[in-house]
Each structure stands twice: as C-alpha cells, then as structure tokens.
C-alpha cells in the first residue's frame, strides 16, 4: 500500500519534476551562453539556488493532497483499508525523493559543467551565512519549504492559499527566531553570531509542523475544513513551541561550543615564532622545536600586535545582549604577565563607551598606541591615544577624520618615536570618493601630520619601524598602478615599479629588500640601498588562484615562496634570491582555501580559511603537517 501510494505520487508530480528539470537546463544553457557576463551569471546562479529550487520544493509540498481534493477522491482513499498515517508518510516520502532527484541532478550538473562549480563556490555564502555553502543553503530551504507546504496542504484544496500561507508562516517563524533569539546568542558565543545560527530553527520548525500535520491528518474529519484547521492548531502550537525551545537550546549549545569552526583571527611571525589567535586562546608556534603552545586564554582575542618581547591584544567580552567590553591586554610573548591595560567600564577611561579598534606596540615594548571610536550612543568620533605598558600614562587625542573612516596603525618611524596611522574611507565616504590618508602621529603631543593621500592600504605587509614606507597608488593619467617608497621623515617618494596592477609586495625581515608581484606576471626584488630592481622574472600563464599569489620571504630572506596553480592543483613554489625555482610543494587542500602565508625559517605556515586550519610546510623535508 505504501509503495502504491508512493508510486502514484511520483506519477502525479511528473509535470512538476519536468518543470524543475527544465529550469535547471535553462540555467545551464544561460551559463554556457553568457561566458563574459559574470554579473548576470552570478545573479542567475543565486536565483536558481536559493529561489528556484526552494520554490520547486514549495510547489511540491503545497500540492501534496491536490489529487485527493479533486473529485473528493480523499473519501475513496480513506475508505480503503490503509492507515491515514501510511497515506501521509507515503506521500511525504515520495515528495522528498522527487525533490532529492531534482537537487541531486543540480549537484551533478554543477559538478560536471565546466566552470559551474567554481561559480557556485564563488558565491558561497560564507560571509552571509557563516559557513554555509550556497548549495547547502538552497537545499536546506528546499526541504524546509517542501515540508511546510506539505504540512499545510491537507487543510484546503486551494493550492495558492497553501503556497502563500506556507511562505508567510515559514518567514514569520524564521525571522521571529532571528529577531528574538539571535541577539541572546552573542553573549553565549562571546562573539557576534551569524545567520547560520538559525539553522536549528530552519530544521526543527518544519519538523514540528510536519508532526502536527501527521497527527492531525490521522484524526481529523476531512469533510470539515474548520475542524481540520482546529485539529492542526491543537497539535501545531505545542509542537512549534517545542521546536522553538529545542532550536534555541541547539543554537545556544553550538554557539557556546564555538560554533562551526575554531576561527583563526590573526597570524604573525616574531623572533622565529609564529603567533595566532584562535577562539578563546592565543597560540605560539616555535620553529625551533616545531611545537604549538597555548600562551594565553581570552574570551575572544581579536587581533594582536607584538614588539619588544611583548604582545598586546584586544579581549572582547559580550557581557549582555547589547553591552560589549573590549579591553586592551598586554603580556610577555611566552604568555606570562598577562594583565589588562585599560578597563572599558571605568567612566574616566577614554575607552568607556568606546572600543579600541586598532593598536600597535612600540618597538621597545614599553607603550601602546591605539585608535578607539564610540559605540552605541557615544559619538563615533575617533580618538588616538597611548598608554604605557604598566597601564599608566593614558592619553587620548581626537583625530580629525570623518566618522566614515576606519583607522589602522601600520608601523613606526625611526626609533619608534611616531606611529604611522592609515585612515581608509568606508561606506558612504568611500562611495563619495573620499581619499585614503597616511598620518604620522606623535603619541606625546597628539600631533598628527598628513604624509600622503590616495594610496592603497598596505594589507599584505607588516613591519615595525619603517624608514621607507612602501605604498601602492593608482595613476589616473595612464591607468597604471605604482609601487613606490616614501621616506617617512622627508616625505620624498620614489617609484619602484609601474604596471597594470601591483598584486603583492613583501619586505624581507631585515628591511633590505622589497619583493613584488605586478601585472599578474612580473616577479621582482627591489633594493632600496641600490635604488633599483635588482632581479626580475616574467611568469607566463601564471595562475595564483582566486586569493592571489601570497608572496612571502622564506629561509630568513634567502628565498621566496609564492602560490601557483599548476596542472589544476595549488602549489607552493619556492624560489631563490635570483627568483630561480628551487622546488614546488603541492598544497594539501584547494588553492582557493589558502589564506595567510607566513614564513619562519625553513617553514611556511598556511591558513586554510575555509576549514579554519593551520598547516605547516617543512621546506627541507617537503612535507605538510596540520598543526591546528
């Protein structure tokens, strides 16, 4: 009986299956016929995955009992010797398998059609939904809407009413959970939580509705529409409440346990050791013995700086739903002597109602400069300030930049006297064409001198004391991009290289050479002392992967490493000081998952940002090891 009803349901829904397959076919054709229109393809891909497929699920579910309503065939079916629960389950199973067939075909098509899997992956909603791929999001929504639609479909023969009611109920429940519950999760997680925390509700709410539907369906009088609704509500309300409670417990447990991954917040090298912050802890990897050590614990150690044998980091703590404290902590690089430098809750503290967003430790480790801005009801004006390593001598000065800027420290002048501060316009300011600015900040007097405007933020490089500040700027005259050096004392600038793009640049540890990758093909090393590019190499058909080449110095400056795709796989290509290739290590994961690279002696650390893992390459042995 189950099988008969199951097969009948498949037959009844063949037209919808064909509609879904036709939709997928049209999408594939559009993808193949629009190779140069990436924007259109991206929109189409998103629409198919998170709108069309879930809509197919909704239509399948909403029409679950359409055949039974027609000609009052429900009376025929219910007069047969078959349990109502069998009828419900057989139909639901059939609809699920039909949807699974559609989703499976879509997944196969994405895999098989050249370029399609990368397009879908590129739209991977990691930033939107905290780790959910676009396809998994689409598949989950498809199942959820099928289940909600099917749960309601026995209530009325008007399918349009079922479709709209399903969408309305699902949206109300999901967004209700989002608005009511999500803010409470942040204190549990110790960090902002993403929409992925809604996943338990997206799973449990349809299950609750389905159970209510099954229970009501088995008991109700099908000839009385009002009674069907009453019976459904009788089971639905407590089951939905249970689903909401269970969903809240589930998402809270996941948030408290650290959610999906053990995010890695920062990665830096200092004095033959690599430091990084994971969720709740700060770690140090020592190249000398190859060991990973936990050197500090913190609620959420977002960002740190190292200098003079000390480390400074911000420790975020979500105290209540709306109250976040961000305290500056300092400790020795072995983790000893950790102590807060400020107390955000003290009203006389410049941090009160503000967050230190950027900070930098002096080269001698004796003081810290910081940039802070207001939160909540406090004005969002920026402050620059300094504090001594023992927590004394706190000073702050207003910074004369618009609220639409974000501020980062990017180094020190000679002797560690003045800090270099970068201001980058964001949001509306960026849209209005506001320029970036580089300042020189005197922590003693608060004086702030503009050094340069309209240069790119040096996101890939980090140095302490900088006599020559490397910068990238765009020349509108010939649409070229320039890598240049600026003397931070005199302000004099000179050109290192000019090309269509400056893709990457990195100072050697001793600051004597600047390696660069320009125009997506030219690798070079510049010597400030000689004032020229001392070695250059053209790399034909070079593919660094989606995240760029990540050029780094290795072996203490004796060579370089760069990411490259060869034969369809990512590699770490090793070069000597003359830019001659000395070897190539295949990456242990997809090249587009390789984020930060840092070199420590004969090792390279690579962050897999997708999986939140840290991998160590032993350049001498040619091996990889996952250390975190």
């Amino acid at each position: 009986m189950f099988e008969k009803i199951f097969r009948k349901e498949w037959k009844d829904k063949l037209d919808l299956l064909i509609f879904a397959l036709a939709g997928i076919l049209i999408y594939v054709l559009a993808f193949l016929l629009l190779p140069g229109r990436r924007d259109l393809v991206d929109i189409l891909t998103g629409a198919v995955t998170v709108i069309f497929l879930p809509f197919v699920g909704l239509l399948l579910g909403a029409g679950g009992f359409a055949a039974e309503f027609k000609d009052d065939a429900w009376a025929y079916l219910f007069s047969r010797p078959v349990k109502r629960s069998t009828v419900w389950l057989a139909k639901y199973a059939a609809l699920l398998t039909i949807l699974a067939a559609v989703l499976l075909l879509f997944a196969v098509v994405v895999r098989v059609v050249p370029g399609l899997s990368r397009t879908v992956a590129d739209l991977g909603a990691k930033d939107l939904s905290g780790g959910f791929s676009l396809m998994s999001l689409g598949f989950l929504l498809s199942w959820a809407l099928l289940t909600v639609g099917f749960s309601l479909s026995f209530l009325t023969e008007r399918q349009y009413a079922v479709v709209f009611s399903s969408l309305l109920i699902w949206a109300l429940l999901e967004f209700g959970a989002f608005l009511l519950w999500l803010p409470f999760l942040a204190p549990l997680a110790g960090s902002p939580v993403s929409a992925a925390a809604l996943a338990p509700f997206t799973i449990l709410l349809p299950i609750g509705l389905a159970l209510a539907s099954l229970l009501a369906f088995a008991r109700t009088d099908f000839s009385q529409p009002a009674r069907k609704v009453r019976d459904f509500a009788k089971f639905g309300l407590p089951l939905l409440l249970a689903a909401l409670v269970l969903g809240a417990v589930w998402s809270a447990a996941a948030a408290a346990a650290g959610g999906r991954g053990r995010a890695i917040y920062d990665l830096q090298v200092y004095d033959s050791s690599a430091y990084f912050a994971g969720r709740g802890k700060v770690f140090r990897f020592d190249a000398a013995d190859g060991r990973l050590r936990t050197i500090a614990k913190a609620r959420v150690p977002l960002g740190f700086e190292i200098g003079g044998g000390k480390m400074v980091f911000i420790n975020y703590a979500f105290e209540t739903r709306r109250s976040v404290s961000a305290d500056l902590w300092m400790m020795n690089t072995d983790g000893s002597g950790a102590a807060p430098l400020n107390v955000t809750s003290r009203k006389d503290s410049p941090f009160f109602g503000r967050h230190p967003v950027s900070f930098q430790i002096s080269p001698d480790g004796r003081s810290v400069v910081f940039a802070a801005r207001g939160t909540g009801k406090r004005p969002a004006r920026w402050l620059l300030g300094s504090i001594k390593a023992d927590g004394s001598g706190l000073r702050s000065f207003p910074l004369d930049v618009d609220e639409g800027y974000w501020i980062r420290f990017v180094g020190w002048t000679a002797g560690g006297r003045d800090a270099l501060v970068f201001a980058v316009p964001s949001g509306r300011s960026a849209a209005e064409g506001a320029a970036t600015r580089l300042f020189r900040f005197d922590p003693e007097t608060g004086a702030c001198r503009l050094l340069a405007e309209d240069i790119q933020y040096p996101s890939g490089d980090r140095r302490g004391v900088q006599r020559s500040f490397a910068f990238v700027s765009r020349c509108e005259d010939d649409r070229s991009t320039v890598l240049g050096l600026m003397d931070v004392e005199s302000g004099d600038k000179r050109e290192v290289v000019r090309d269509s793009s400056i893709d990457w640049y990195r100072w050697s540890d001793d600051g004597s050479r600047l390696a660069f990758f320009a125009g997506k093909r030219t690798l070079g090393i510049y010597s400030p002392a000689e004032g020229r590019v001392t070695v250059r190499r053209e790399l034909e058909d070079f593919d660094p992967g989606r995240l760029g080449p990540s050029l780094i110095w290795v072996r203490g400056g004796a060579g370089l490493a760069i990411k490259q795709v060869r034969d369809g796989a990512g590699h770490l290509v090793l070069l000597d000081a003359d830019l001659s290739e000395t070897g190539a290590l295949p990456l242990p994961f997809d090249v587009d998952e390789a984020g930060w690279l840092v070199g420590i002696g004969a090792y390279v650390l690579v962050l897999n940002w997708e999986e939140d893992q840290l991998w160590l390459a032993d350049l001498d042995a040619g091996t990889w090891r996952k250390i975190y």
Partner: protein, 246 residues
C-alpha cells in the same frame, strides 16, 4: 444469526448542526439491510463513519465483535463501499485504478475484476474522468466486488442513473450477493428500490433511528393496521416510510 457490524451510541455534528446522537444499530450477517431517510437525515454521514472516512464525535463501532478505533484500517478489508457520487482519482485510467485498488485487498480477485469490466463494458485504457456517471458507478461496483467483501455498503449509488440500469443492478447484483452470504447495507432515499430486496429495515429521521426491524414483520404489522383502519393507500415500503417520517 451473528452480527457483522454494531454501532453503539454514535453521535455526530457538523459545527452546530447535530446530525444524530445516541444512534445504535447492528447488521446481521448475510442479510440485506435497508437504511431509509430523507435527504439530509444523515445516511451518508453514518456510512462514512462506518467505513472510516470520517470520525464520529462519540460512540463505538464493533466489527465481527471487535472494537474499532477511528484510524483502524484492517477491518476495512472486509468492506466494499460504493458511494453516492463516484469519488475516484479522475486522472487514473480504469485499469490503473483497479490495479491501485487491488493493493489494498488481500482477497482481491483479479479475474473477477476483469469479468466485471467485460460485463459492464468498461475499457481499461479510458481515464476515469472520461466515464459517464453510469459507467463510474459500474466501475465502483467492480472495484468493490472484486475485493470479495463480507460487507457491502451502498450509499444511494443509483441516484441519477436511468431506471433500467438501476433495476438491473438491484435485482441481479445485490440479490446475488445476498444469496452468497454477503451482508449488504443499502442506504437510499428512493424507497421503492429497496422493496424487493430488503430484509431488515432502518429508518433514520430527526437524528434518531425511528425503525430498526425485520422488513417482513414491519410489513405485516403495517398491513394489519391498514386493514383494521380501513385505510387505502399505495401500500408497501413507501407507505411504511411515510408513516414514520410524517
């Protein structure tokens, strides 16, 4: 004689409209039972409760001495049901519907079903929605009878059918079933259709069972009363029915 089905203290309402309350009856094995009542008295409702299509608000149902809960399915294997309005899946073909139906009944007699198709002139490949009302009725009979039911329930199946067709059915098929020992419950508002076949009579009126008796006894008593009163009338079942529902 043993009873096949017993209904005890059944009650059913649709919203505020009470259909019946405290309704009790039993069906004796092998007899043809007639259920009479005007339109809207609750005949279809009672039959739908018996066949498990809708639940009663209160009351109990016993089949072959076993209490039946709403939702029990196994007892329906012994019941054949022919409704007033054909209620099949219109998109199915005749052959598909019979094959679909066969899955529900362990005693399904396939050759018998094919015989009925041939006798009734039904084409296996025709869609159900393309059949006339009369052919749908015949299909209903084929589907019900091929399951070899112990109890056949008919809910005014011949209304809207032409007279010769109705008479063929009532005379040939139901009598044949009854002779073979099948219990029959025939609900109708067309009194004269039952006259030649009914053995036990129920009359439903005003939400109650106003008559629950063997037809012979009722007929004799009615005739005696008519004769004693010197009354002249059409006589027969119709007269009896009028006397209870007037």
């Amino acid at each position: 004689m043993s009873e096949v089905l017993r209904v005890a203290n059944l009650a059913k309402s649709f919203g505020r409209k009470k259909v019946f309350e405290g309704l009790s009856l039993s069906l004796a094995k092998g007899k043809v039972h007639g259920l009479l009542g005007r339109n809207g008295e609750g005949k279809t409702t009672l039959i739908r409760i018996i066949t498990g299509v809708i639940p009663a608000d209160r009351g109990e149902l016993f089949f072959d001495g076993r209490a039946i809960r709403f939702g029990d399915a196994a007892y329906k294997r012994a019941i054949g049901y022919i409704p007033e309005d054909p209620f099949f899946f219109g998109g199915m073909r005749v052959g598909e519907l019979l094959d679909f139906n066969a899955a529900f009944y362990p005693r399904w007699d396939g050759p018998r079903a094919e015989d009925y198709l041939r006798v009734f002139g039904l084409d296996r490949d025709v869609r159900v929605r393309a059949l006339s009302r009369g052919l749908k009725l015949k299909l209903g009979f084929a589907a019900a009878l091929a399951a070899r039911p112990g109890l056949l329930v008919l809910d005014d199946p011949t209304s809207g059918i032409d007279v010769p067709t109705r008479q063929d059915f009532l005379r040939d098929i139901i009598r044949e079933l009854a002779d073979a020992g099948t219990t029959v419950l025939f609900a109708t508002h067309m009194v004269h259709e039952l006259e030649r076949i009914v053995e036990h009579l129920f009359i439903l009126h005003g939400g109650r069972l106003v008559l629950d008796e063997d037809y012979e006894a009722v007929r004799e008593r009615h005739d005696e009363r008519m004769a004693a009163g010197g009354e002249a009338g059409p006589g027969g079942l119709e007269d009896i029915f009028r006397s209870f529902v007037a």
